[in-house]
Amino acid sequence: MNLLELRDLRKLFPVRDALGRRRGAVRAVDGVSLSVAQGEVLAIVGESGCGKSTLGRLALRLIEPDEGQVRFAGEDLRALSPAALRARRRDMQLIFQDPFASLDPRMTVEAAIAEPLRLHGVVPRGQESAKVAEWLERVGLRADHARRWPHEFSGGQRQRIAIARALASGPKLVIGDEPVSALDVSIQAQVVNLLQDLIRDLGLTFVLISHDLAVVRHIADRVAVMYLGRIVELGETEQVFARPRHPYTRALLAAVPGQGAKAPPLAGDVPSPMSPPSGCRFHTRCAHAVARCREVDPMLPSEAHAAACHLAAELPAAVAPHETETGGERLRRLQAFFTQGTAA
């Protein structure tokens, strides 16, 4: 069953000059359809300005689409009254990138996590504290942290608090917008492990919005690659990473560092989303582009592993990403000490 269904979503942001005159519009999301199955971890990847964050906000109806449908558990979110939508919020939550900005500095940790509990009547009055303590332990903090203020915590700890707050109302769907991108590598690994545990134990449906392909590869079951407001490739993570079909996905994967020094896979910058190229939006940077790509806008076919590319069937086989081997068996054995947490 699909928990979330997006159909033909479009969102334009008007751009105005200094005098307030309309100068055009950024086509942030420009015709996206996507469904997320119950219990699935779906990643939306792409570079800045591709529309992935806007898509996440549209899916939760934090912003209104100009066109298209959002269905959550079969229900049309756009048809809900404000009161009904507020009640629905319990089931869908968002985790932001920056835990320094997403927690109110004037709220103790207890107040921050108790707020959704109270708002949605998750536990009877008077039992919030016990529930807050339970959540703190669940995200790897201590019950006595409840009395402290956000500024007393490190970035990784704050992100744990933000996760507890997002999960406190018992949501079915959680959207994480770059939830680990602001964290240092060693802390990022802790939070990635925590998210994976929570997703599994709570049976969450999770949409991960990220620019980090390695994190996506690690967490997601399925992945949607976006470029200039469109999904250009969609499929199971294994498939997309081993056999990328769209030239943009291939370039994106080839650009990830750690694969040996080589020529950059793409030249130039992403064109302006105010005036995306005609035909295939990627044709201006695509090494394979032919006349048709400049004229005809390719659709994303409805296949399990789909690419919005006229030439997808004819392209030479993709080179799967290939990381420089490090350490081998010796390193894996040493690292096992960290995972098990056992002293030698």
């Binding site: 700890q157 590598v185 690690h218 030249a267």
Partner: protein, 319 residues
């Protein structure tokens, strides 16, 4: 061995705060040979950026600096910033002057350090921008920073830094603010220009993938100290410090299995309340009683040093 372009000899940097002295960098020593790229890797607060600022002489006057910094064998304070050594920062928008065009900013360095006349300096700036692969460089040179994309601004920064062919370029997270495809372009550009000009590069980064691809030598820093130093290939093949081992396991990978990441438990110590001895010991699965004493950075194999009593770690596996 020829004289290193840069040599740090027991560099220490402290900052007095209301709560006490923060030892941001402690006894850091390394050498960078001409034309070589040394990567300094570590997480926030490890002292890598402070080290670079110390080399550039950009620390605030209140900083307490100990040890020696030698540039071409002489006190680095005698070297000229901009001509002998230059720096590229993470955020090009804050390093470029918004009131001057890209061309004017590159030209300024050429006028000041190479004594070129304004017109000749501007022409040379356009030439430098085009070597930094800025398309349509003559037109771009007349644009202001806000008219350029993030990747383009970083190209301008690199063009500016390399305009006077410095012997040493310090890059502090030069690609962190950029998208992955643009990152690849900028790293390739740095490599290309480095080979052309013979400039040595100190690359400050948290990204192990970039290090594996580009660096000749690596120094891994943790809580103000160098914990491991080795040629890049050797560091990745046989890391000898537990922190390096943990860091390599913590980074999710593009290929290979899922499973749990080998996360390093706990957090970096508070710089005002550092553990005695080895600073990594509280988070280290291999720690033993002796780790209460600070281990020296000692050679484990030729050219490969680790500050760990238990190095080489192969002993741990054999046990």
């Amino acid at each position: 061995m020829s004289t290193p372009v840069l040599e740090l000899d027991s560099l220490s940097v402290g900052f007095a705060t209301d709560r006490g002295l923060v030892r941001a960098v402690e006894a850091v020593s390394f050498r960078v040979a001409p034309g070589e790229m040394l990567a300094v890797v570590g997480e926030s607060g490890c002292g890598k950026s402070v080290t670079a600022l110390a080399v550039m002489g950009l620390l605030p006057g209140s900083a307490q600096v100990g040890g020696r910094i030698l540039f071409d064998g002489r006190d680095a304070r005698e070297a000229q910033r901009g001509r002998d050594l230059a720096m590229v920062f993470q955020e090009p928008m804050t390093s470029l002057n918004p009131a001057f065009t890209a061309g004017e900013q590159v030209a300024e360095a050429l006028r000041k350090h190479r004594g070129l006349a304004p017109r000749a300096a501007f022409d040379a700036a356009v030439e430098m921008l085009s070597r930094a692969h800025i398309p349509d460089a003559a037109r771009r040179a007349r644009q202001y920073p806000h008219q350029l994309s993030g990747g383009m601004r970083q190209r301008v920064m690199i063009a500016m830094a390399l305009a006077c062919r410095p012997r040493l370029l310090l890059c502090d997270e030069p690609t962190t603010a950029l998208d992955v495809t643009v990152q690849a372009q900028i790293m390739a550009l740095l490599d290309e220009l480095r080979r052309e000009t013979g400039t040595a590069v100190v690359l400050i980064t948290h990204d192990l993938g970039v290090v594996a691809d580009r660096a000749d030598q690596v120094a891994v820093m943790y809580a103000g100290r160098v914990v491991e130093a080795a040629p890049a290939a050797q560091l990745f093949a046989t890391p000898q410090h537990p922190y390096t081992v943990g860091l390599l396991g913590a980074a999710p990978r593009l290929v290979g299995g899922g499973g749990r990441l080998a996360s390093i438990e706990g957090t970096v110590p508070d710089p005002l309340n550092l553990p005695p001895g080895c600073r990594f010991a509280p988070r280290c699965p291999f720690a033993v009683a002796r780790c209460n004493e600070a281990p020296p950075l000692a050679e484990v194999s030729p050219g490969h040093s680790a500050a760990c009593w238990r190095a080489p770690l192969d002993q741990v596996l054999a046990a």
